[in-house]
């Protein structure tokens, strides 16, 4: 079971956090701080896995973003790397050549996509096609709505 997933930049800025275990906010911040520091200090050719506290950390860097997952002792490290990769593929497909900015400005979408891939820290749907289909049908529901905010956003509301 995945315990949590963190996305952060090379500068150590947290871009996305998803927790599959309940921790108080304070602990979450502490864990995040420690892990970001640990991982940023590692060199490029190093192993993608490390033992950390009671769990294992699997991480991978894509361009300027680090994707970092904590998994349980018995979980499969290599396949966790591929969960990360599948998520990156989904983001890439959805945003079209995803970059860090897409995730910053559309953080809620990044969450929605992740929820389609993993539930409760377990892989729910491994098929890329099926996840994208689910997201597309959500977007379809959205497009049916009237673009209500348009006037307010332009100071006309």
């Amino acid at each position: 079971m995945m315990l949590f997933m963190l996305l952060f930049s090379r500068q150590g800025k947290l871009r996305l956090q998803k927790w599959y275990v309940a921790h108080p906010d304070k602990l979450k911040k502490k864990i995040t701080r420690e892990l970001v520091t640990t991982i940023l200090a590692r060199k490029p050719k190093m192993c993608s896995f490390l033992e950390w506290k009671e769990c294992k950390i699997v991480y991978k860097r894509y361009a300027s973003l680090y994707f970092c997952c904590a998994i349980e002792q018995n979980d499969n490290e290599l396949l966790t790397l591929e969960i990360i990769h599948r998520y990156v593929e989904l983001l890439d497909k959805y945003f079209g050549s995803v970059c860090e900015l897409d995730i910053i400005f559309n953080f809620e979408k990044a969450y929605f996509i992740l929820d389609e891939l993993l539930i409760g820290g377990e892989m729910q749907e491994t098929s890329k096609k099926n996840v994208l289909k689910a997201i597309a049908s959500q977007d379809l529901l959205q497009e049916d709505e009237t673009p209500q905010g348009f006037f307010e956003d332009h100071g006309l509301g």
Binding site: C47, I119, E152
Partner: protein, 930 residues
């Protein structure tokens, strides 16, 4: 710039841009506070906000929260969004609720109501949104509210596949916090049969759920094994085009495969059915075969997915530990990975091999890779990989390669990373102890450890080397010589001074004959380090000095001078001052004899599991014990050393605590207080027989240590030691309950006329025995002449206000004072004839215990204390023995012959001794015991 967003909420995009443009942390905080004030006023304002505005503000709050700021409002607005008929508003509402879970009870009922409504929706997208939210929150509230709906959604025929997938994992999430949510009965089989579902996504999700259920209740879900094996087999043999989008970079359904392989690891053996077993083995072989095929793609994703399945298959093979062929193949495969280009693979291969090393089938196979592993330890660029290599070397170590591995680890330690030094030191110390055939090697290794990595050598390690040197006479001289040499280094570690100080204090005399290490030289060498050491080490050195006065009276004045110096205010440390003045006085007032008694050589330490091992186990839970399982199969080296006890007079010493202060430097360890009977097990763990003994005194005729008495309240362990006419017993009273025992009073039952023959001295004990605690009582005995029966103790105490009374026989039986006597056939028969009179002999015939166990009988006789004589009786089945009972007034020679009759399953026992009472007593003891 802000236009990256695709859909509305331009205000949000502007806000995010503003934050990104902030030049400083302060500016960012300022901008955020401004926004928070704005949102707060909007939420509080008179103007009702429409859904869009609420969504926008809630989303901003979410963003602020994710930046790491606290958010304490907006929950109500988010909950309002849940019931919006616009999907995008609903979705943001759910996201906010999921991320900022709030246990506010007013809101939770509203949230639950909204979720209920969405679960009823005919649109699967709404249902999934609700399920995701339940899973994200995952609280008991959620479990209670949806314990009906979710299991129904999972197995109902009407549910769409996408909803089933979410429902399976949602249920799993709730099961983790509230296990009672899973309905039993007919549901079990319906859930198991999800493994047969047409839809791969459903199977993938359901397998995780079933895995968790199996962990909780393996019997009930046993039916999943057959289904899982056949599903796995179908996937593994499928071509990558068969599974369409569930094939990942040419690997068919890697996630499902791994989950199924994990699921199967919950059972051992995986299956009893030969057909299923054969199919599983075939499947595992196919996976191993595929690993040898050329890759279908150069992409790392392909190899990762393929190897993920392979590693999980190897895990299953290791877990089953029953197929030598598969284990060896797995080992070869991992061996190839050890020199793979990918660091990740090397790391995993080392880790996995650690487990293979603990299997008897593959241990030898793993050892073939020793060279490569040593190279990995030395050459890997990444410390976590080097760490794995160290772990593997530790796991693959055995008697055959110990010397080489320990040497390599020592070499590496000189340059090893600080982060892994401490653990390496422990490992080296354990290996050196465990596999030492020659204790000089062990001493060398530990001294090297201190020299190379003194800072990382913990107390447990240097305590242990001292224990071992004290318990092994043959190494004492060598140890003294070696530490003396080590101390000559201009800069030596404080731990070396401690070990050196202690060992020279005990055994310095063994090297004093050499003028290069004459008494004064030893003393000056040690004292040259004194001023550089911490108070604790100085205290130890002072003790060494007083021991020197005993060992080397000729340097008494030099030492007294030092004591004098430190016995006053110049020594700032009160403990040192006190020691110095007390030792000084002792050296002045005590006669040589008294001094010799007080400072007698330290008695042996009781043999027990190395305390270092415990430290390592604490550091690395889950790793060390596996290694131990294998160790227990081979004879433990410590058993070899156990006999050396008897060389010492009173080797009973309380070391209840693993960290007991062996050197008497600090306050004595308090009684080990732990829950249940754990405390006793620590001390007597190695000598426990098959428990449940209720004062079985007869057993103690043949052994000295074990559990003497046990009931629900109390356990009494015993350790005893005899020498000539003296004996000493340590009784360990362990309170097994959660309450203290009070008015705890043991009193001796031994009539005065008996006391004349065997005098008993009972040490006092504390009247209160705390819950789970253990106390020790020493009982000394001295035999003046032969006696019958044995003394007992009346133990009275109060437990929960009720008076309890127990009578316990003490294992001070006459045979304990036997001294085994060797003699040849001629001598034996001459004496046998001499002891032929009616009063001198006794004979009994009795039925043997079935099955008749001659080897066992011989063992018992040696335990009895009498010498078993070889090649005396012409009939090899007969056992003849000789011994002398030592008491102060009389010495009674005693001969014995035990003749088995295998057909009749009977024994004939004959005892002859020079004293009638002894003949009778010994005969009574031994009858019916074989």
């Amino acid at each position: 710039m802000a236009p990256v967003r695709g859909d509305g909420m331009r205000g949000l995009a502007v806000f995010i841009s503003d934050i990104r443009n902030c030049k400083s942390k302060e500016a960012e905080v300022k901008r955020i506070n401004k926004e928070l004030a704005n949102i707060r006023s909007k939420f509080k304002g008179d103007k009702t906000l429409d859904g869009y505005q609420k969504k926008k503000y809630v989303c901003k709050l979410l963003f602020i929260f994710l930046l790491g700021h606290d958010i304490d409002f907006g929950h109500m607005e988010a909950v309002n969004l849940l019931s919006s008929n616009k999907y995008s508003e609903k979705q943001i509402g759910y996201l906010f609720i999921s991320v900022l879970v709030n246990t506010n009870s007013d809101l939770i009922s509203l949230i639950i109501q909204s979720i209920k409504n969405d679960l009823q929706s005919r649109n699967p997208i709404h249902v999934n949104l609700a399920l995701q939210c339940i899973a994200n929150i995952g609280s008991r509230d959620m479990a209670e509210s949806f314990s009906n709906e979710i299991p129904k959604l999972l197995v109902s025929g009407d549910t769409m596949d996408v909803v089933k997938q979410s429902a399976a994992l949602c249920l799993l999430r709730l099961f983790r916090s509230s296990p009672e949510i899973i309905p039993g009965g007919e549901w079990t089989s319906r859930i198991i049969h999800l493994l047969n579902d047409q839809h791969m996504g459903v199977v993938t999700a359901a397998t995780s759920l079933i895995d968790a259920l199996v962990k909780k209740n393996p019997e009930e879900y046993k039916g999943c094994v057959t289904l899982a094996v056949s599903r796995l087999s179908r996937i593994v043999t499928a071509s990558y085009t068969d599974l369409q989008d569930y094939t990942y970079y040419f690997v068919p359904a890697p996630w499902l495969s791994v989950k199924l392989l994990r699921l199967l690891q919950n059972y051992n053996p995986v299956t009893e059915e030969p057909g299923v077993r054969a199919r599983l083995n075939e499947t595992l072989e196919t996976i191993l075969n595929k690993a040898q095929e050329p890759p279908k793609s150069k992409k790392v994703q392909h190899s990762n997915a393929k190897n993920a399945v392979l590693f999980e298959a190897i895990n299953l093979i290791i877990h089953s530990d029953s197929e030598p062929n598969l284990l060896v193949r797995a080992c070869n495969q991992l061996g190839q990975f050890l020199s793979n280009r990918e660091t990740n693979l090397r790391y995993l291969a080392l880790e996995s091999m650690c487990h293979l090393a603990t299997s008897e089938f593959s241990h030898e196979e793993v050892k073939k890779h020793q060279e490569v592993v040593i190279l990995s330890m030395k050459m890997e660029k990444d410390v976590s990989v080097r760490q794995q290599a160290v772990d593997l070397l530790y796991a693959m170590c055995d008697r055959g390669n110990a010397e080489e591995i320990v040497q390599e680890m020592l070499n590496y330690l000189e340059t090893a990373d600080y982060s892994i030094r401490e653990e390496m030191v422990l490992k080296v110390a354990i290996l050196a102890e465990k596999y030492a055939t020659d204790y000089t090697w062990y001493v060398d290794v530990i001294l090297n450890l201190i020299r190379i990595a003194g800072d990382y050598v913990s107390e447990e390690v240097w305590y242990r080397v001292i224990q071992i040197v004290i318990n092994h006479e043959e190494v004492q001289g060598y140890a003294a010589k070696t530490v003396f040499e080590a101390l000559q280094a201009p800069a030596c570690h404080e731990n070396m001074v401690k070990v050196g100080g202690y060992i020279l204090g005990e055994f310095g005399n063994l090297i004093a004959g050499d003028s290069r290490s004459a008494p004064l030289v030893q003393f000056k060498l040690l004292h040259s380090k004194y001023h550089l050491c911490s108070p604790m080490t100085r205290a130890l050195l002072l003790s060494t000095y007083i021991k020197f006065i005993n060992l080397f009276p000729e340097i008494r004045t030099n030492i007294q001078e030092v004591f004098r110096q430190h016995s006053n205010l110049r020594s700032a440390d009160a403990e040192l001052q006190q020691r110095a003045s007390e030792y000084l006085q002792l050296s002045i007032v005590a006669s040589t004899d008294v001094l010799a008694t007080v400072l007698e050589e330290m008695p042996s330490f009781p043999e027990r599991e190395s305390s270092i091992l415990n430290v390592l186990k604490k550091k690395k839970p889950g790793r060390v014990p596996e290694n131990e399982i294998r160790e227990s199969k081979s004879p433990a080296p410590s058993s070899v050393t156990q006999n050396s006890h008897s060389n010492h007079k009173f080797p009973l010493r309380t070391t209840n605590n693993a960290n007991a202060d062996l050197l008497g430097l600090s306050t004595p360890p308090s009684n080990n207080i732990s829950a249940g009977g754990g405390a006793l097990i620590d001390v007597l763990g190695d000598i426990y027989g098959a428990g449940g003994a209720v004062n079985n005194i007869k057993k103690f005729l043949f052994k000295n240590n074990g559990v003497l008495f046990e009931n629900d309240i109390l356990q009494i362990g015993v350790k005893s030691e005899f020498r000539k006419n003296m004996g000493r017993i340590g009784l360990f009273y362990g309170n097994k309950t959660q309450n203290p025992l009070t008015e705890f009073t043991p009193s001796l039952i031994w009539p005065a006329d008996q006391e004349q023959k065997l005098s008993i001295l009972l040490e006092g004990v504390e009247p209160r025995l705390e819950a789970g605690a253990q106390i020790q009582q020493m009982i000394a005995a001295e035999a003046f002449e032969d006696y019958c029966d044995s003394p007992s103790i009346d133990l009275s105490f109060k437990y929960n206000g009720t008076q309890q009374k127990i009578n316990i026989k003490l294992p001070f039986t006459l045979n304990k004072f036997f001294e085994p006597t060797e003699m040849n056939a001629e001598q034996f028969f001459a004496r046998w004839k001499n002891l032929g009179s009616e009063q001198q002999r006794a004979q009994r015939v009795f039925k043997a215990q079935t099955p008749m166990d001659l080897a066992g009988a011989a063992n018992k006789l040696s335990g009895f204390g009498i010498q078993l004589l070889e090649n005396v009786d012409p009939n090899p089945d007969n056992m003849v023995c000789a011994g002398i009972i030592n008491t102060i007034r009389v010495q009674v020679g005693c001969l014995m012959r035990l003749e088995p009759n295998k057909q009749a399953e009977m024994f004939r026992l004959t005892i002859r001794s020079s004293k009638e009472s002894v003949t009778k007593e010994i005969c009574d003891m031994l009858v019916d015991q074989f």
